[in-house]
């Protein structure tokens, strides 16, 4: 199994009473609640955590992109990746991912990733996403064009990396007379591409296609859903006529280990609840702006939502643990759950998030060490 140590870099000092007065921790939460000194401290801690992952034996460290939110302080993940390149030697660095439709010039993304790949002598893994719905409020990009722009930007970036330049790119949203990267990526033909996803069938079909075979990471979902999505990817691959590798099947999940299940829950319960109940929640107008999902998917989603009642449910640590949305427990418990997923899906690409929500440096460091010494060896 391949292990990624993934980080969201949340703004932990957030005043949760003030947070509760706003509809979301995204886009509309006043940045007067942000303190630059505390922000600098967060970066320092988080960079130290990710850097330590190399010595602990992780294969990959992962960062990601979100805009205008206390949920994650990485609007420009490439900058963090660049800092990590300077602090590490061998470990691979995954940017999970860049939100392609949000930029008006995807060549910039191709260029920056090529630079990072060169600076790191080929240690970069590129992740491509559309961003979550709030990103379209934050950037003004029309969500109705989200899918089209993603596809086009993807095609442009891959071509820029692999096709001899200069060449011309002619799209609906992007048009360039000259595409000619200097520098080109260090890896040949290009850096690997991973696709973090919430499991939409369109994404599964696209990522699994034989000409791509992009590793597919299911993010922050209940155990059964993760299983269903990974299975659908594997089934799709078989329909395309090939057997998927375990490394193509990824699971991104918050994990916390301590000596006993009880201790783990006690230490991490508040932090996991802060992630799911304070940092993450958004009203549907923000999370699913029209066009972010197709109209037919959206109709089905809204119908399901109406039948469940419209109020979002607060999730307790118990809920999150019992649904398998978070793996919190003793090393034995956590190993068992991961092995079960492995047995049931063949997945081999674990993206572990070992700091989440308000989890302190001290607990995070202990968690990382224990995960590396008491979980990873049982799964290698």
């Amino acid at each position: 199994m391949q292990f990624t140590c993934f980080h969201l870099m949340p703004y932990r000092p957030l005043d949760m009473e003030e947070r509760a007065k706003h509809r979301s921790a995204w886009v509309v939460l006043p940045n007067t609640l942000y303190d630059p000194e505390r922000g600098a401290e967060q970066y320092e801690s988080y960079l130290a955590q990710l850097t330590s992952a190399e010595g602990l034996g992780f294969d990959v460290i992962g960062v990601n992109e979100h805009h205008q939110t206390a949920y994650g302080m990485m609007p420009a993940p490439n900058l963090i990746a660049s800092a990590l390149i300077q602090r590490t030697k061998k470990i691979r660095i995954a940017i999970l991912g860049r939100a392609l439709p949000l930029t008006n010039n995807p060549i910039f993304i191709a260029e920056e990733l090529a630079m990072l790949d060169t600076l790191s002598r080929g240690r970069i893994i590129a992740g491509f996403v559309r961003g979550i719905g709030t990103e379209y409020h934050a950037t003004g990009i029309n969500p109705a064009h989200s899918h089209e722009r993603y596809q086009e930007a993807h095609d442009l970036i891959v071509a820029a990396w692999t096709k001899p330049g200069p060449f011309e790119f002619e799209g609906e949203h992007y048009n360039f007379r000259y595409v000619n990267l200097w520098p080109r990526p260090y890896q040949r033909p290009r850096p690997p591409i991973w696709i973090p996803s919430q499991g939409s069938s369109e994404t599964v079909r696209w990522a699994a296609a034989p000409e791509r075979k992009y590793p597919f990471l299911v993010t922050f979902s209940a155990f059964d859903l993760v299983k269903r999505y990974l299975t659908s990817y594997a089934d799709q691959a078989r329909q395309y006529g090939y057997e998927p590798l375990g490394s193509q099947l990824g699971w991104a999940v918050p994990i916390y280990v301590a000596d006993t299940d009880e201790q783990a829950k006690q230490e991490a319960g508040g932090a996991i609840e802060s992630l799911f109940n304070q940092f993450l929640p958004n009203p549907w107008e923000m999370l699913l702006p029209p066009g972010y999902m197709s109209l037919s998917s959206m109709k089905a989603t809204m119908k399901a939502r109406r039948s469940l009642g419209s109020r979002p449910r607060t999730q307790t640590a118990e809920d999150l643990i019992s649904s398998g949305t978070a793996l919190i427990g003793s090393p034995k418990t956590v190993v068992e759950k991961i092995k079960r997923m492995q047995d049931e899906t063949g997945f081999d690409n674990l993206v572990s998030m070992l700091q989440f929500g308000t989890l302190s440096d001290e607990l995070t460091n202990r968690n990382m060490q224990m995960f590396a010494s008491e979980v990873m060896p049982h799964l290698r």
Partner: protein, 258 residues
């Protein structure tokens, strides 16, 4: 009188259309929320005019609007639509998004347009006078912010939409997003061409509009040469619903006095 409902095909779009009354033709262009059921406002107009209320391509039951990617496309579509009516020159009335479409249509070609009436139209932007963010408003505030008289909002909110109605609202919201998300509810190049609207024009604005502030009325009045501007007291964005009689009366008197 209840209107007849017709499906009218122009180019590749088959639009649903309500029609009632007799007299000179009047085409009513609805706003981003979609074509409301026939109500007192259109009923009053139909006492004096042949009222035609199409549902824009991509909205409600008007079929696939994929070929309409922006309001400029919609304006070109309505030029085709006006040709297809074979009705001579029409009185064009538009509210909100429909007002924007009416203005974009009229700057392109007024030869089939006898007059233009704009009810709190989208389409222009005044720097420093922000509009409401109807894409971030929740379901309840999205209704409340469109009315001054909250009794109308209460009434709408008390009714649980049927499955079909909820689907239709979502369809409308998708199309409205395509047309109005960015730049938000305006076209940067519209204002400089508004002088091309050379027919009698009326701009009506609810004084309590919380989506597009009433300050916008003056800019429209200053930009269209033959426009008269009236503001409507105790009216929000959907003034043709909450002040139906008042708004219909002002419109009819403008149309009679041309």
């Amino acid at each position: 009188m209840s209107p007849s409902v017709i499906y009218h095909e122009v180019r590749s779009a088959r639009v649903r259309m309500m029609r009632a009354g007799a007299g000179e033709p009047l085409v009513f262009l609805h706003g981003a929320g979609g074509l409301s059921p026939w109500g007192p406002f259109l009923e009053d107009l139909s006492q004096h005019f042949d009222v035609i209320a199409p549902e824009h391509p991509g909205f409600g039951d008007s079929g696939d609007g994929a070929f309409i990617r922006n309001v400029a496309d919609m304006a070109m579509y309505y030029l085709d639509f006006l040709d297809s009516l074979h009705a001579g020159a029409v009185h064009l009335v538009g509210t909100s998004l429909g007002g924007w479409i009416a203005a974009e249509t009229a700057v392109r070609n007024c030869s089939r347009i006898a007059s233009v009436s704009l009810l709190a139209p989208a389409g222009l932007r005044i720097k420093g006078v922000p509009i409401g963010d109807n894409f971030i408003w929740g379901p309840e505030e999205g209704v409340r912010n469109l009315f001054f008289n909250q009794a109308y909002a209460d009434k709408l909110l008390a009714v649980e939409p049927t499955e079909d109605e909820a689907d239709r609202q979502l369809t409308n919201r998708f199309m409205a997003t395509r047309l109005g998300w960015e730049p938000r509810w305006f076209s940067p190049s519209l204002q400089k061409w508004l002088h091309r609207i050379q027919v009698p024009s009326l701009v009506l604005w609810g004084e309590e509009d919380r989506l597009f502030p009433v300050e916008y009325a003056k800019l429209w009045g200053d930009s269209i040469p033959a426009a008269q501007v009236q503001t409507v007291p105790n009216a929000g964005h959907l003034m043709q619903i909450e002040c139906a009689q008042d708004v219909a009366k002002r419109l009819l008197s403008f149309l009679a006095g041309r």
